[in-house]
Point group: C2
């Protein structure tokens, strides 16, 4: 009898019918003889509604009180799901994060899990219960309620799977799994059966918004197999697991397109040691996240520096850069919000050469100019014109043979 942790997101428990649907799935799994721990998010818009309430009171809510407020959303879901499971004649008990012994640090609204005491869950499981746990929340050693920030319920599920030595962690969502590219942009994108933690981490960072990176990182660290599945059907989903020999045969697992970055260029900066260090230190002080950086020597005494930031941080970045440009002696500043980043990801790259040239060649044949390039061991990203993004995505997806075989 194996122990399985399941997690159902907010849209999967968005109303009474959907909660009953989840209850049926849980009951069926239980009747197969599994021990089950089920992590649930807040129903549909509940969290947004609670945030709206807080905004009616104050623009700067205290973070401790925000955690008290928001943690009620998941508590409502778990109680209702327990009731729905009871209706099917299956024993179930709901618990809050604090009740179930999820101990976190003191950083309200973005707490990190420090420890999980599984005694209470083990006892309830031993009594034959499905254990239902409110996701996204925990408590400090001082019994203060905390929440785990974005992707918190996924994190709860993966961390519980680790603590309980579960066979696997099933993440139920409203898509069938992870795809070779966004199916809304690439119609023949194919569902991936197995993918490694590292690949999904690159894809998550690149905007494949199926799971938050924090949960994948925990899964990787403790080697928890994670299934991403659809709560509305019985399709197989995607298994996220440690790298296997078999995966290396696939050179490229997926292609991702993101358009949430903007590029800033400083022209003709006097080329002295420490110039870049000074600039990026100032940006870091202003809490601006930098993604890609290139520096290009334009003459014996000057250099151009380009980098990308998230669009929602562009204004903040420009303010810092304008001030810094003067003291650095830069000639001029330019920025461009109309850029896209296209990336190919695959652990097979480690053992296969020629991926970069194949990608660049494909873009060249399409007459798409490459603006910036960055690479990691298992990823190649190119910044191109924003207008060309979707065309590039489809061309590269096809170039690496990722489309459905039937087509």
């Amino acid at each position: 009898m194996s122990l399985i942790v399941q997690k159902y997101g907010g849209s999967s428990v968005g109303n009474a019918d959907r909660i009953r649907n989840v209850a049926r799935r849980v009951a069926a799994k239980k009747k197969q003889g599994h021990k089950l721990v089920v992590v649930v998010s807040a129903m549909g818009d509940t969290t947004d509604d609670l945030i709206t309430l807080a905004e009616q009171i104050t623009k700067t809510p205290n973070e401790r009180e925000m955690d008290m407020l928001l943690s009620t959303g998941e508590q409502i879901s778990v109680a209702l799901l327990a009731m729905a499971i009871h209706e099917l004649g299956v024993k179930a008990m709901s618990f809050t994060g604090p009740q179930v012994g999820i101990i976190t640090d003191k950083f309200h609204t973005k707490a990190k899990i420090l420890d999980i005491n599984t005694d209470r869950m083990q006892k309830a499981l031993a009594q034959g219960n499905v254990v239902i746990v409110a996701g996204f929340q925990g408590k400090t050693c001082e019994e203060e309620v905390t929440t785990l920030g974005r992707g918190g319920s996924d994190l709860t599920a993966v961390a519980l799977a680790k603590a309980l030595k579960a066979k696997c962690c099933e993440i139920y969502t409203d898509v069938d799994g992870i795809y070779t590219a966004d199916p809304r942009l690439v119609p023949d994108a194919q569902k991936i059966e197995q993918i490694s933690y590292d690949e999904i981490l690159e894809l998550a960072a690149l905007g494949a918004k199926v799971m938050h990176s924090r949960s994948i990182e925990v899964g990787k660290k403790f080697n928890v197999p994670i299934y991403v599945r659809n709560s509305m059907n019985n399709h197989e989903g995607t298994l996220i697991t440690k790298e296997s020999k078999q995966m290396e045969d696939v050179v490229v697992s997926g292609v991702a397109l993101t358009d949430d970055e903007a590029k800033i260029t400083l022209f003709k900066v006097p080329d002295r040691p420490g110039v870049a260090a000074k600039l990026f230190a100032k940006l870091s002080d202003a809490n601006v996240n930098i993604d890609m950086i290139i520096q290009n020597k334009t003459s014996t005494s000057t250099t151009d520096i380009s980098f990308t930031v998230f669009k929602n941080e562009l204004n903040r970045a420009l303010a810092v850069v304008k001030k810094a440009a003067q003291s650095l002696g830069a000639h001029s500043i330019h920025h461009d919000s109309d850029i896209a980043k296209i990336s190919v990801v695959g652990v097979g790259m480690r053992s296969h050469s020629g991926v970069a040239s194949k990608m660049f060649g494909c873009l060249a044949r399409k007459k798409i100019n490459i603006d910036m390039i960055s690479t990691s061991e298992i990823k190649i990203s190119c910044v191109i014109s924003g207008k060309k993004g979707k065309e590039a995505l489809r061309a590269i997806h096809s170039e690496f043979g990722l489309g459905k075989k039937s087509k």
Copy 2:
């Protein structure tokens, strides 16, 4: 520097504006130099909305899960009130019932408070915080969430006042205090300045729905002075306290009218010892609450038995009575839902005679027939025709000189 416990009901925190209003009141009291513990109910219709959610899932919700669900309502209120108090520059911390150490028995949805560990509240108070506590809830020794049933938030407030040795407990509601009669029925009803626990217990049982009897009983047991006040103005309100000499000068404190009972009569029951015992044991087994009982010997061998039950238990009671009537050998059964009960209450009755005859005389002059009479040390109740209820109320209120002196 004295410690005061305040309690604000659901309508007092029904929306953001009202929460801000409560925050201003709390902040003003704090700035007067008081230590403050504030108990809050769920916002307006929140509890009803949560019950509706549960009803969409099941007709027979598990009580443990109901407590998990319903306790979120107060948790939302306390977090929002803390934020609103922060906006006014005053330190405040919110706590759930479980967090604040309210230990109850295991009877979910109607738990009794066993103990309160005040350490955490004392610590937060010592740090200069207003302590805000979610009403209506606690936890068992096994860390299970419980709720306290009807009037639970009042009970939380009075119990905290006792545990913290507070100077008094202020119950804020949407009326100015306790009146000599329901002002909607008796226009010249007068607000009572001081009333004893015993009188208010009689009045509460009689339908003056300002506070639930459980809280008054706790207040009486531990001698906690309770102020009933309006959260929307600064009027003085009514002080509920232990009996004083001064109170004895007032013969009748208030008059109450209730119409939620029905009368059942068994005619010509053979008059043998144990007949009444048998009948009422069967009603008790069926969980029917009996209020008044009269037995009237009609001949040497038979007796008539009349009693009143709550209207919502009438059908259940009739089913039992019909079955019992046969085995007891009663001649016939009659029931009447159109009755009213009018009561006068006052500790002065103990030392003043003639209250009953004054009341009966008043009803006689109005040609209102008395159906049943019951009395306690400080109360006289008469059952009369339902149609005559309001007229009787106004007449008796005037008879005892309870109207506003200016009129």
